[in-house]
Assembly symmetry: C2
Homo-oligomer: 525 residues x 2
Amino acid sequence: MEWKNFDQLESLRLFAETKPMDLKETLDSAAGATRVETCHVPMAAGLDYNYAAKAVDQKILLALVKLAEEAQLADKYRALYNGAMMNTGEQRLVLHQLTRGQLGDDVVVDGVNKRDFYRKEQERIADFANQVHRGQISNEKGEKFTSVVQIGIGGSDLGPRAMYLALEGWAKTNQSFQMDAHFISNVDPDDATAVLSGIDVAHAIFILVSKSGTTLETLTNQAFVMDALRKEGLEPARHMIAVTSETSPLAHSDDFLTAFYMDDFIGGRYSSTSGVGGAVLSLAFGPEIFDRFLQGAHAEDLLAKETDPMKNPDMLDALIGVYERNILGYPSTAVLPYSQALSRFPAHLQQLDMESNGKSVNRDGQPVDYPTGPVIFGEPGTNGQHSFYQLLHQGTDIIPLQFVGFKRSQRANDVTIEGSSSQQKLDANVAAQIVAFACGKEDENRNKNFKGGRPSSIIVGEELTPEALGALLAHFENKIMFQGFVWNLNSFDQEGVQLGKTLARKVLSGQTQGVLTAYSRLLGL
Amino acid sequence: MEWKNFDQLESLRLFAETKPMDLKETLDSAAGATRVETCHVPMAAGLDYNYAAKAVDQKILLALVKLAEEAQLADKYRALYNGAMMNTGEQRLVLHQLTRGQLGDDVVVDGVNKRDFYRKEQERIADFANQVHRGQISNEKGEKFTSVVQIGIGGSDLGPRAMYLALEGWAKTNQSFQMDAHFISNVDPDDATAVLSGIDVAHAIFILVSKSGTTLETLTNQAFVMDALRKEGLEPARHMIAVTSETSPLAHSDDFLTAFYMDDFIGGRYSSTSGVGGAVLSLAFGPEIFDRFLQGAHAEDLLAKETDPMKNPDMLDALIGVYERNILGYPSTAVLPYSQALSRFPAHLQQLDMESNGKSVNRDGQPVDYPTGPVIFGEPGTNGQHSFYQLLHQGTDIIPLQFVGFKRSQRANDVTIEGSSSQQKLDANVAAQIVAFACGKEDENRNKNFKGGRPSSIIVGEELTPEALGALLAHFENKIMFQGFVWNLNSFDQEGVQLGKTLARKVLSGQTQGVLTAYSRLLGL
């Protein structure tokens, strides 16, 4: 395998021979409808990636295919899941895909088959969750636990929280809902106070999640919660479990009922399919639902092995994103799920993408000279339509869009008004928006004029089931991985978060000077 | 007054004589601490706007002052609150500041003094809320209402929701909490279903909010809720009030217990201080708290009258933003409140800013040739630190930052661990981040190297009280207004949201062709 910086790829020259596709003209033409029917790649779990409204014609796609070949995207993915050292900065393997299935060779580290290890932990979690649901594991009074509270931040919070919210309605409708889940993340004491005041602490089980066991916010909130439990006359160790690495100070501790393990090969933002997501989702919905979620993710991981980008939805999405970022120069991307259940999915993707590819050095630590990861933001539709879409439609910058939509709602409760259900109104809006963005509409009143030419893709599914959610998550994880390969980045470390932590410790220990002292004073410290 | 496009302003030439300030060098120098102490402008309610970590030196600030003079920012604000026709596209006045106090001349339209009108509606709402709280207005069984549910979207949702969340903890701690509030916005039927399943419908009062009375999502959700009430054997008209304009189909309707009025001079995204925010906040916290919130906003509005930008925090913030957007070319801005209570404040600002200034035509409807409103995104700290801050610190693009922090928490519940409280840890982190972004840190390992030079400002307050929240909100409203003046935009219409609505109606009525038909089919319609 060869690792070349993006600007060293010879196939980049092919783009000099392409010209930007006129999206408006193409979609407005007689061939427009055919394009919608043909420009798509099936994903796992019945999802479908449709890129008809992306400004990519055959010539551009051909150049992207060549780029993928030259950058050896399929080879690098294969190397990754077979256990190559892909997190170069931290000298770690990258194995989150193995938490949901076997993709290639066995990966054995220090005599441990990692797939077996992840599966065993999943089974231990399933067993624990079943015992909690049956009341075999209970509180001091022998009463069932009714709530689960995850204490974690960043990857230990955003992904699991987004997944919980994504499946809560589905689980409630499909009789698999077991326990309501809550999340404490921020070191702001108002966060923990608010969550604790909203639950029945005596019937709550807390999951402390920190891979290293040293995360400032999480340990602080652990102490916060232990304090609250003691004030209620409860024994913290009867109410708390841990998800951590075996080498962390939290492992094998008497502070917890039990602990479940992950390892350094699972990055925080990629940990939703490990015990980090597994414990809270298995407790909330039951282990079978978590397993179905994993199956969806695994099926998408398998699709991502396809070497031809035109048949690989994750790779194609990645390549079109690179075209928009580096050839067309668009600095941000909006994620717009038409599903209220995905309300926090954009926040999770924001971390996943920006923390993975928001880098200025290549995988060998050498500075790069080209734009890497874009800004990611978004809110669910139709809400966003009444908010920031104004800028998306008529602002001076073009912002590529990623829609997600489903044909059916999750909760099977709807009303028909003026001849259409709410779900139909929702879906009519996403169809309308794609066309409005792409084709625009001329108006003599320039204030009402829509230039169009604003590109989007859409992932469409029947319903947001556990499998569909797994596939959706894995799609974006894999997309980001492929983009990291194209840009020659290490998408799996996050050195950029360290300096702030170091300086915060200095402030707290009073070891500041100059401008840091001044800012500390400004904040009343 | 003269209306010139931004690129016609002669004072722009002054920037050719400036060079970018070296932020890292300036803050790292002996003068750095002094800069933190001196580069600030007091805001209302004890807040303070500090721009020490913005890359603006005396020469650049002088150019910005000249720009403000030439663009007649103070004059245009005065004209606006005195009743000039500022929403040129829709031919409407812009009077949201009058919902919270008298700033200048009386504004009389069709014989009605608008300030008196807004105050009267506020008083009617206060009276209504007091009667609900005392149980004089009650449900069919004569029982007190315990929950309030706002049904609205966009400006009728994001602002009021963000304000509710911002004050919920404060109100609970300060014994002014009256009723819990919920929000239904999305046309996705899963949204309404989830909210309704989480509340006691028999003791809930619903506020239907739509200025026009024709918003698709809101009317659909009204029907959804009326259906749910009837299924419980409840009479919808006993559980529902409206906030609308006097000319809307919702006014004077038997469907509601009562209605409160706003008018076309209050834009949706600027309506938090009108009845749109007033009804839900007065019911949730009591009218006195809502009044204190208005007082904070009014005090900030008064400060914004100052003609010297160096003494006007709203205008100065606006000008520095223009410098970053148009001279330095940064396409997005992150809003980072270090307060969990402000969890949805960035989503509100996203609408406020992007819907106001995401425009490509000037106030006369002529295309402009310069970048206008940036992309706005953000999440609360410290959460964001473990997420997208990686890109902010080490990504290839520079993204200006807007921090917000408070010295005290709202809920007066904290723990001390390792010598510091959670609030101190929170504040230490914001101080540390500002310095980390601005000054960076060299490291031979380029992967651990921080270039610095990433600009930020911070608004600091003692505590997030109702007054402080009002001042914070008005600060951003006024900042965006001033930027709109500089860019010669009409910041008060939103024609960019219309085309999608029109096309969605076509889909729902089956009147589609070509690509719109194809996308409708793709979505299962």
